[in-house]
């Protein structure tokens, strides 16, 4: 029983990481239909933000907490810049967007190599996240994993509130549903696009901060996770936040359960096969919604 619980929690924590890296993408790719290959590099920017802040701020705990809003702003501004300079001009051309943003991703990786060096860098985890918590007698959970789980849930809740109840969220949904109608209703659709992109990219920065707690920080970290992030959004159903949430946790648990009985690589293969099989059965993903520019 303990083993099952342990694997279950490991799965949930893998799911939480998947959710964090996919959440921003569920806005920019899911809602707006933009394939942004540089999204992973925004995650990388968030991770390096922690590294840089720790050079200045000695307390690991403070630097991590300050890094959250700073990384959100930095990644968000990178996103806005990318949207304004390039993506805006390519809205009806998904394939070109993919190639152009991939190029941007390569440039950003090289910039990271030139500034921080090619080898991975280390950050210090704050003390309150280095230990572990024991639940139900013998279920040991690492504090950093618990922190990431909480962070991902808070991020989902915040995004849901913004999308469902605020005027900004209404505008985002209105522009996604019908761009022409939104414009003739007096909405500055370009500005709504940029705001959406800011939030989506900013969430990538938050994910980057979280990733410093569990893995190395390096120039290629974005490339390694971007595919998984797209997978989660596609399987969850384009434009559906709840789909993204459910799929992230299901994939995480599946990965950890299979991993326990086999090996990491075999588990990855099985998860990918499961995804392919699922998309054969439901090509539109778990939930569906019409979006523009992805016919």
């Amino acid at each position: 029983m303990t083993v099952v619980l342990n694997q279950l929690f490991t799965g949930i924590s893998i799911g939480a990481v998947l959710l964090l890296i996919a959440l921003g993408l569920s806005l920019t790719f899911g809602q707006m239909g933009v394939i942004n290959m540089a999204h992973g590099e925004f995650i990388m920017a968030g991770a390096y933000t922690v590294y840089v802040l720790q050079q200045v701020i000695t307390g690991a705990g403070w630097s991590l907490l300050i890094a959250l809003p700073v990384a959100f702003a930095i990644a968000g501004l990178m996103g806005v810049l990318l949207e304004f300079l390039l993506i805006r001009r390519l809205y009806a051309r998904p394939l070109d967007t993919l190639l152009v943003t991939w190029g941007v991703a390569l440039i950003l990786q090289q910039v990271a190599r030139d500034v921080f060096g090619a080898p991975n860098v280390q950050t210090r985890a704050p003390e309150f996240l280095t230990g572990s918590v024991t639940l139900f007698g013998d279920l040991v959970i690492s504090s950093s994993r618990l922190f990431i789980l909480a962070l991902s849930l808070v991020a989902v809740a915040a995004l849901t509130v913004v999308l469902k109840t605020t005027s900004l969220g209404r505008r985002i949904r209105a522009v996604v549903q019908n761009r022409d109608l939104a414009a003739v209703s007096g909405l500055a659709t370009g500005r709504v696009d940029r705001l959406t992109f800011f939030i989506g990219s900013g969430l990538a920065g938050i994910a980057g901060v979280a990733l410093t707690l569990i893995g190395p920080i390096g120039p290629t970290m974005g490339t390694n996770i971007i595919v998984n992030a797209f997978l989660v959004v596609v399987v969850g159903g384009i434009g559906q936040l709840k789909g993204t949430v459910i799929v992230a946790f299901v994939l995480g648990i599946l990965q950890s359960m299979v991993e326990y009985t086999t090996t990491v690589s075999v588990a990855s293969v099985i998860v990918f096969v499961a995804i392919v099989a699922f998309l054969q059965w439901r090509p539109q993903g778990l939930f569906t919604l019409r979006t523009r520019s992805l016919a």
């Binding site: 109840t165 005027s167 019908n178 209703s185």
Partner: protein, 244 residues
């Protein structure tokens, strides 16, 4: 008040001339119907006025040049339109649809605020278009006629002065048509109304003036009786010369 004024408007799509040099004056307070066979350029004309289609020439409303402005800037000058098929934000509720249309004037700092009550102008628009009872339903679940009324409600709260309505009564029942026609009459007291419509019965009852378009040009203009008596119109629009 000077209404809508269109001068030498041309819209060309990939070499195809959709609108080829249209001059049109709709004085403030008019209820102008634009009719014409399919492909005459009626909807494209509205697209050009609202900035959705690129055009050359000149379009002014209340003395302000519209061509060359962004779509949302034109909307904010008081130009409102509906689309040929009832087009609303289907996944948003009726109230949220109206909020979008009413809220463009809101500053960026209010964007993260949640709703506090329904503004009186939105309440009034809900009454006018008879949707108060379904205001929390997703707009996609409304009946076809209700969607068309929601479109008009959105134009009301958007503070549009010029209503460009693309087939507003298509698919409506007789009662709904009558109600819509009466609403248009009321609106014309302080708005300028332009209607594209195929329904001749509706046109005879509610149009004040009529413009007939054919092949991207204005064919005839005048009162309903004048236009109906015009042999050019009878030939082109009805497809055959009318027997004397």
């Amino acid at each position: 008040m000077s209404g809508l004024s269109v001068r030498d408007l041309r819209v060309v799509f990939d070499g195809f001339v959709a609108v080829g040099g249209v001059d049109l004056d709709v004085p403030a307070g008019d209820v102008r119907f634009i009719i014409g066979p399919n492909g005459a350029g009626k909807t494209t004309l509205i697209d050009a006025v609202t900035g959705l289609a690129k055009a050359t020439g000149s379009v002014t409303f209340e003395g302000q040049e519209l061509l060359g402005r962004k779509v949302h800037k034109i909307a904010r000058l008081g130009v409102g339109r509906t689309f040929q098929t009832a087009t609303v934000f289907e996944e948003l509720t009726v109230l949220q649809n109206l909020d979008i249309a009413a809220g463009w004037a809101r500053g960026p700092l209010t964007l993260l605020r949640t709703r506090k009550g329904v503004p009186p102008e939105v309440e009034k628009a809900l009454e006018t278009v008879r949707l108060t009872g379904v205001r929390d339903k997703p707009a996609g679940t409304l009946a076809h006629g209700q969607k068309q009324w929601l479109e008009i409600g959105m134009l009301l709260v958007q503070n549009a002065q010029l209503f460009l309505l693309d087939e507003p009564v298509a698919g409506m029942s007789h009662d709904e048509r009558d109600a819509t026609g009466e609403l248009l009459g009321q609106l014309s007291k302080d708005h300028t109304v332009v209607v594209i419509e195929h329904d001749m019965d509706f046109l005879r009852r509610f149009a004040r003036t009529v413009t007939v378009m054919h092949a991207g040009k204005i064919l005839s203009e005048g009162t309903v009786a004048q236009v109906q008596a015009d042999p050019k119109v009878q030939e082109v629009y009805l497809g055959h010369p009318v027997e004397a």
